[in-house]
Every structure is written in C-alpha cells, then in structure tokens.
C-alpha cells in the first residue's frame, strides 16, 4: 500500500468580491498516493483550477484542511509561460534561481533531463523559435527542475492543436511515468483523463465536490495511445460522460 501524501478533508473555499461571495469548493475530500496519477474532470467553471491552488498552498482553505506538509510542487499551466527573453536553458533553470539552489550540480542535472527528453539542440534557442509541442515539453522540464514531489497540471495540453496534443500527451506521460512522479491533472477532456490517469475524480458543478471517484482498470497499460485502443476505453468514456452530464 502506497503512502497518502496529499489529503483534502472537507475543504471549502469562498471567494469574496464586492458583489458578494461565491462558494467555489465545498466538502471536498480526496487523497493522492505517492506515485499516483489522478485526473480531475468537471463541468467548466466548477473550480478545478482553485483545487490546484489549494493543493499547492497558494490559497488557504476557508474551512476544512489541506494536508500537504513538506511537499514541494511543480506547476504546469495551459500555456507554456516560458519567458520570451530567456533562452530555453535559462528558462528551465528559473526554478533553481527562485529556490536559490542554482548550483553547477543542479544545472547539470536539469540539463541532462532536457537532453534525455530531446531538448538538447534547443537549449540556446529562444521560446519563439520552438514549436508549440517543444515549448510545452520545455515547460515540463522546467516543472521537473526542482525535483518536486507532486506535479500539478492545469489543462496543460488544451492550448495545443489535436495532432500535437496527442504527441505531447504521449511525451509527458512517458516522462512522468519514467521519473516516477505523483501528478494531479485538471482537464475538461474525458478521453485525456482516461488515457493518462490511474484514478479519475468527477467533480460536480459549483460548488465543486467529488461526485464520483474511479480506479481505472487498464492494468499495466500506461501508454496513452495504447489505452485508447483498449476495449474498456469507450466504456469508461461513456460512463464518465454520463456522470459529468447527469
């Protein structure tokens, strides 16, 4: 049995504006085990992104508890958010600079990671010289630079065109699996969730709470494209689709 490293217990979050208050998240309870890949799907605008900010401790919950003691997080957003004035190399070193661990040893480690995943020829290029897929791959390496315990993925593929999206999903999945990372993926794409995750949480409309949680039964098949060919893929799709819209 793997250790639970991140736990939400009856979490509630209220946003305050001058016009009033909005309950974004309520009674939210789930946990994330070490090495596990969870995908969270939910109707649009249901507070999925809020969930990530809560997990990372960027937002304190209004009520309940988020247990994330001692965890370090790596964020990956919809757009790559690479800094255009920095080369790819400088971009992937950025977290090292922020955490003040910008040592030759760490730089070497991150560089090796970049080279391992096919970025070696782009290290001295600027982001604008790379394709969308390559940029998102660079963004993932930047996320991995500080060796975080948990990856928080906020619809990281939704800004890519379909072809690139399948390829990058493939890449990212392979990198996350082979680096044995724990990941929490937010997405509105049901098939993406099924092709990537070990477990899928279905959220309700706002205020978001976990309506269903499913352990996916793909056995050893972790490759996203292979999963799409599995027999139970479409069954899962139909089921989740019904739950989302039901």
């Amino acid at each position: 049995m793997k250790k639970e490293i991140l736990r939400f217990r009856d979490v509630k979050l209220v946003y305050h504006t001058l016009r009033g208050e909005t309950i974004a998240v309520e009674n939210l309870t789930f946990s994330l085990k070490e090495g596990e890949f969870i995908a969270v799907i939910g109707p649009s605008g249901c507070g999925k992104t809020t969930l990530l900010s809560l997990a990372a401790g960027l937002l304190p919950p209004s009520d309940g508890e988020v247990l994330n003691d001692g965890l370090s997080f790596g964020y990956m957003l919809q757009k790559d958010e690479l800094f255009p004035w920095r080369t790819i190399e400088k971009n992937i070193f950025l977290p090292l600079e922020i955490k003040k661990i910008n040592t030759a040893e760490n730089r070497e480690r991150v560089k090796l990671l970049a080279e391992k995943y096919g970025l070696s020829e782009f290290l001295h290029s600027y982001p604008s010289q790379l394709s969308g897929g390559m940029r998102q791959r660079a963004a993932l390496i930047r996320t991995l630079a500080t060796n975080p315990d948990v990856l928080l993925l906020d619809e990281p593929f939704s800004a890519l065109d379909y072809q690139t999206r399948l390829n990058v999903t493939e890449d990212v999945s392979q990198i996350i699996r082979s680096e044995r990372k724990t990941a929490l993926l937010i997405t509105h794409d049901i098939s993406e969730a099924i092709s990537l995750a070990d477990r899928v949480l279905v959220l309700s409309a706002r205020p978001a709470t976990v309506r269903f949680a499913h352990e996916l039964d793909f056995g050893d098949v972790v490759n996203p494209l292979k999963r799409r060919e599995e027999r139970n893929f479409s069954a899962w799709f139909e089921r989740l689709w019904r739950e989302l819209n039901g």
Binding site: L58, K79, P84, W85, L94, I98, Y126
Partner: protein, 270 residues
C-alpha cells in the same frame, strides 16, 4: 540571418529589390532637405522673401560660425545640453523608481492616483512663477522644470507596463515559491524592458520641451535663451541658428537611445 554563398535567383532578386527600396528612401530623405534649404536660400538671396524675417541657410551658417569664433557656441550648447540631460536622467530614474513603489503597494497607488492624474493634466508652465521664486533664476529652476515635464509621463508609462505583467507567469513564479522581490527581479522588470526603451524615446522629447521651456522663463544662457533673446531684438538669424542646433541635438539624443536599445535588447525574437 545566415549568409550563404549562392542564393537562388529569386532570393537575389529579393535582395536587389530591398536595396533599391532603401536607396530610394534615403535619396528622398536627403533630397527633401537639400531642396528645402536650396529654395529657402534662393528665395532669400533673390529677396522674394525678406531674409531679415525668414533668415537663410547662409546667414545661419555665418551666425553659427561667429558664435563659434567668440567661443559662445559651445558655452550655450553645453548649458542647455547639461540641463536637458540632468533633467532627463532624474525624470527617468526617479519616475521609474516611483512607478516601482506604486506597483509594489496597491494601497499607495490608490491613494496617490488622483494626485498623479491632476499633475499629469496640469500644464507645467503654470508653475513658472513658483519655480522662479523657489529655485531662483539659475540652472536649478530649469532642471526642475525639465524633471517636472518628464517625470509624470514616466511614472504613468512605467506603471502601466509593470501592471500589465502576465498574471499566469506570476502564478507560475509564486508556485515555485518566489518572493515579491524575486517576481520583480525575474519577471516584472525584464518584461517591462521594451516599455522602458519606448519611455526613454518619449522622454527625449519631454526633456527638450522642459529645458527650453525653463530657459524661456528664466535664463541667462543656453539655446532657449538665444531664441528668446534673438526674438526680442529681432535677430531672426540667431533664432533660426539656435533652432537648427536644437534639431541636431534632439536627433542625436534620440539615436543614442536607439543605439542603447540595440545593445540591451539582444534577443530580436522577444
């Protein structure tokens, strides 16, 4: 751009067209100047216009030369130039620093907003009498006027650049555990660099407006002084000479900023 030994015919044609276009632009630029000065000189020498009122290129040249001979040319240029540069520098550095402070504290920004808006709309020349009384009739008053003209524009320009920083990139840095100083250092300032250069270009103009305006109000020397003095004693040659020198200096300062831009904004792809 990579240089290759043999271009395709099409590329050679493209390069040729580009060079031709550049040649046309430059010959017209210089041509217009020559025609303008030529017609001016011709009309004045044929007395079709009264050179006493319009001056003429040759009279301007003579005036500049005689200023040079009695040693006052560089004296006046030096005074105006130093006032302009000093005012420019204080406005740019001070304005940017104030904009940073306003970015740092939302509350401070909200408190000071109406004051900045009013100061921005106020014609600075209205403060002329106050400036004379407070700072006397020397260089200090003129530099103060120059700063006043430039600093508000600088604050507004840089503040809007700082505030326009991408929210998602900030979120990204915060998720890495960045402090506010780090966000400023790694994101806000580098992202605002192009705006900073644009602001410098605007401020070149502002600084000259400020210093000449200052010299109109109070001065014993400088190019603005020569223009006012020349106007009062009807020496239009002197007025035109000083104006031409101003044109040259302003252009020179602008090109220095462009040069600076080329050295600090290294990445053409940003």
């Amino acid at each position: 751009m990579k240089r290759q030994g043999n271009f395709s015919r099409e590329h050679a044609l493209f390069l040729k067209k580009y060079k031709q276009n550049t040649a046309v632009v430059w010959s017209f630029r210089i041509g217009i100047l020559i025609v303008l000065f030529g017609v001016w000189e011709l009309f004045a020498s044929l007395n079709w216009v009264n050179p006493f009122i319009t001056s003429s290129p040759s009279r301007i040249a003579k005036t500049v030369y005689s200023l040079y001979q009695d040693g006052s040319l560089f004296y006046h240029i030096g005074i105006t130039l130093s006032e302009t540069l000093l005012g420019f520098l204080i406005a740019v550095v001070g304005g940017t620093a104030i904009a940073l402070a306003l970015w740092w504290s939302d509350t401070l920004r909200k408190i000071l907003e109406p004051y900045i808006v009013v100061l921005n709309a106020l014609p600075k020349i209205a403060l002329g009498p106050l400036i004379i009384i407070w700072f006397g009739t020397g260089t200090k008053a003129i530099v103060f006027m120059t700063v006043l003209v430039g600093i508000i524009v600088t604050i507004l320009h840089m503040l809007s650049a700082f505030i326009a920083t991408d929210g998602n990139k900030m979120l990204l840095l915060r998720s890495m555990g960045a402090s506010k100083v780090q966000i400023l250092q790694k994101l806000v300032i580098p992202a605002a660099l192009p705006s900073f250069i644009a602001m410098l270009k605007v401020n070149v103009g502002m600084a000259w407006i400020g210093s000449i305006m200052g010299e109109y109000i109070v001065s014993k020397a400088g190019l603005g002084y020569l223009i006012v003095y020349g106007g009062q004693v009807f020496k239009l040659d002197l007025v035109m000479s000083a104006t031409c020198i101003l044109c040259l200096l302003a252009a020179l300062m602008y090109f220095l900023v462009v040069l600076l831009e080329k050295t600090i904004v290294k990445n053409p792809n940003r």
